[in-house]
């Protein structure tokens, strides 16, 4: 199987108050296409920073990041935003929907930034909402939806542009266990359709739903194991 994500000795450090703060130490990681991977670790371990770099929201200080055969190291801000647009769907703990837009409009956003005509945006957004079971609530605004429903809208937004990589940061962190289960069921279905999933979590129960668990501690990989069903 070809490697979809390849990290080579990736490091990230910040300068804070004149002090060098090393967040990630020489992380090397390969993720094959279609894998469902969990990254676990306590808060402060660097897992969120790792997700930001994988999601092209931040850039590494050192090391190489290859996504789908393309070396992203040193790409411009414009090129990185194109990668985000075409290849990556984000799911956040706090959903990150725009409160002033309804479900269809929120889901349409990635298509709008791809310059897709409005009528097609609407069709595809409605199809994505149908996929997550929220078609009849498509004209609701986020505040009119439950947490689980909001997260499903966010999933529809991650799916709508057919991004091959879905990055989820504590996707069930703000949900009750029942809604959380529904979301994880949906992840499993979507993964079965061939999308690569990378879920950041500190919850072992969430991690246990994936195929592989990578544990991070103080910016280094301390464990990398397959999940046996």
């Amino acid at each position: 199987m070809d490697q979809f994500i390849e990290l080579e000795r990736l490091s990230k450090s910040y300068r804070m108050a004149g002090e060098e703060l090393q967040i990630l130490h020489q992380i090397s990681l390969s993720v094959p296409s279609g894998q469902y991977l969990s990254v676990i670790g306590p808060s402060g371990s660097g897992k969120s920073t790792l997700m930001h770099i994988l999601g092209c929201l931040d850039v590494p200080s050192q090391g190489r990041y290859v996504l789908d055969g393309r070396d992203l190291t040193g790409l411009s801000e414009a090129a990185l935003s194109q990668v985000r647009r075409q290849s990556i769907g984000f799911i956040f703990q706090s959903f990150n929907l725009l409160p002033s837009l309804n479900a269809v409009e929120n889901v349409s956003l990635p298509l709008m930034y791809q310059g897709i005509p409005v009528t097609q945006q609407k069709e595809r957004a409605e199809a994505a909402l149908e996929r997550v079971g929220l078609r009849e609530r498509r004209h609701h605004r986020p505040h009119q939806l439950s947490g689980g429903q909001q997260q499903r809208v966010a999933i529809a937004r991650a799916l709508v542009a057919d991004a091959p990589l879905i990055l989820a940061d504590e996707p069930t962190g703000n949900l009750d266990s029942h809604s959380g289960e529904e979301i994880l069921d949906l992840f499993a279905e979507l993964n079965a359709e061939g999308r690569t999933f990378l879920v950041i979590t500190h919850d072992p129960a969430v991690a246990s739903r994936s195929q592989r668990i990578v544990a991070i501690h103080d910016g280094t990989v301390v464990e990398d194991r397959k999940v046996t069903a």
Binding site: L57, S81, R84, R85, L98, Y113, Q114
Partner: protein, 407 residues
């Protein structure tokens, strides 16, 4: 995508209605003020121009008296020179004045002896400026007859006491009755009214001072004065005015000796001076109004900066789902342009309304200039663009990871 961005911007503006209106207020006032002031300025100039043209743009005024040539910008010539105490007073005789008519391209000469007089009919009296002059005065000063006739050459030779009134005084003294043929006393001496001049309407300068015209020799004996203070001349056409002025200057210099004691003014010069004063005044006012537009722009910048910091998270989300730097820049720029554009339109509307209302109340011809409206609107957009650029650039430059971290 542009139309969608405009939709997004309109929505953002609509969601903060009060804030948007307050932000736009600066632009509304600025644009409205520019349009109103320029329109009123134009109205004022054209009304002044019309009034002065009513006096005759070919009109030349020769004033004689001590120190007259030193003062500048006298409007017309009815003001009497008070400073006659210094000896010897400069003088121009009637004969000399008539000779000025021999200058090439001078088509009319009206020497004037002036003084004040009291008109009386029974117990009713009216104070007027008494103008002793010749028949040419009517045409040179552009007066229209309402009743009867003006002075004629015959009046100068037969020594009859005849007087021509102006409509206002005729009404004061005689009411609605046609006074022609009736008698009026002038400083106690009876005169026969032979004509009534129509009023010219409001105007600058002396033409609306109350006056009555009598033959020049009657005025000399009535006022006990033989010195001419003013001579009105008319040039053949406005293009001859400059040439005539220099000829007049030469001749008067040779008679009077010093240019300090006479002045030659052309109505058309006054007109062009006034027009340029009006224009620079209009420009000044428009400039002041333009400053309020810039202040309005700063208001937009302020609100856009607030908006950017309030919506940092939104910017982060938009960037995460693929918005490029340009898309975010465009979104906030369009929002600034929508604010200034709507403000500009409202400003054009209120400016047009204010122009028409104020023009009417000032009695000007209401004239709305589309060019000015377009210019003010374009300026408002430019202000929005310039002052929106910094906040928009700030939004676009946010790093997505930082923007997402903001709660």
């Amino acid at each position: 995508m542009i139309s969608q961005s405009i939709g997004v911007a309109l929505r953002a503006v609509w969601e903060q209605k009060l804030r948007s209106i307050l932000t736009m207020l600066g632009i509304i006032i600025g644009v409205g003020a520019v349009i109103t002031l320029v329109t009123l300025g134009h109205g004022a100039s054209s009304s002044v121009t019309k009034n002065i043209e009513g006096l005759g743009s070919n009109l030349l005024v020769v004033d004689v008296g001590t120190g007259v040539g030193e003062s500048f910008g006298r409007l017309g010539g009815a003001t009497t020179v008070s400073d006659t105490s210094l000896a010897p007073p400069p003088n121009l005789t009637l004969n000399e004045a008539q000779k000025l008519g021999n200058i090439a391209r001078v088509v009319g000469v009206a020497p004037v002896v002036e003084g004040s007089g009291t008109l009386g009919v029974g117990t009713t009296t009216a104070s007027v400026g008494l103008v002793g002059t010749t028949p040419a005065y009517q045409n040179i000063m552009n007066y229209k007859l309402q009743e009867g006739r003006f002075l004629t050459p015959l009046d100068e030779t037969d020594g009859e006491n005849v007087i021509v009134l102006r409509s206002t005084e005729a009404q004061t003294l005689f009411g609605a009755i046609n006074p022609v043929g009736d008698t009026v006393t002038v400083n106690g001496v009876p005169f026969e009214v032979v004509g009534v001049l129509a009023n010219k309407g409001t105007s600058l300068g002396q033409s609306e001072d109350s006056f009555a015209a009598i033959p020049i020799d009657r005025a000399e004996s009535l006022l006990g004065s033989t010195s001419l203070s003013t001579v009105y001349l008319s040039a053949k056409s406005q293009s001859n005015v400059t040439a005539v002025i220099s000829r007049l200057d030469q001749k008067l210099l040779s008679w009077i000796g010093t240019s300090q004691n006479f002045s030659v003014t052309a109505q058309s010069q006054i007109l062009s001076t006034l027009t340029s004063v009006q224009n620079s005044l209009t420009l000044l006012l428009a400039g002041v109004a333009g400053i309020s537009l810039i202040v309005g722009g700063i208001g937009i910048m302020n609100i856009m900066l607030v908006s950017v910091s309030e919506r940092t998270r939104e910017i982060g989300i938009r960037k995460a789902v693929g918005a490029s730097r340009g898309a975010i820049l465009g979104q906030f720029l369009i929002e600034a342009l929508v604010l200034s554009g709507i403000g500009g339109l409202l400003g054009v509307g209120s400016g047009a309304a204010a122009s028409v209302l104020l023009s009417k109340s000032f009695g000007y011809q209401p004239s709305f200039h589309t060019g000015i409206a377009l210019l003010a609107f374009a300026f408002a957009l430019a202000v929005g663009l310039v002052f929106g650029l910094w906040p928009a650039n700030r939004a676009a430059g946010l790093r997505p990871v930082d923007a997402l971290r903001v709660e």
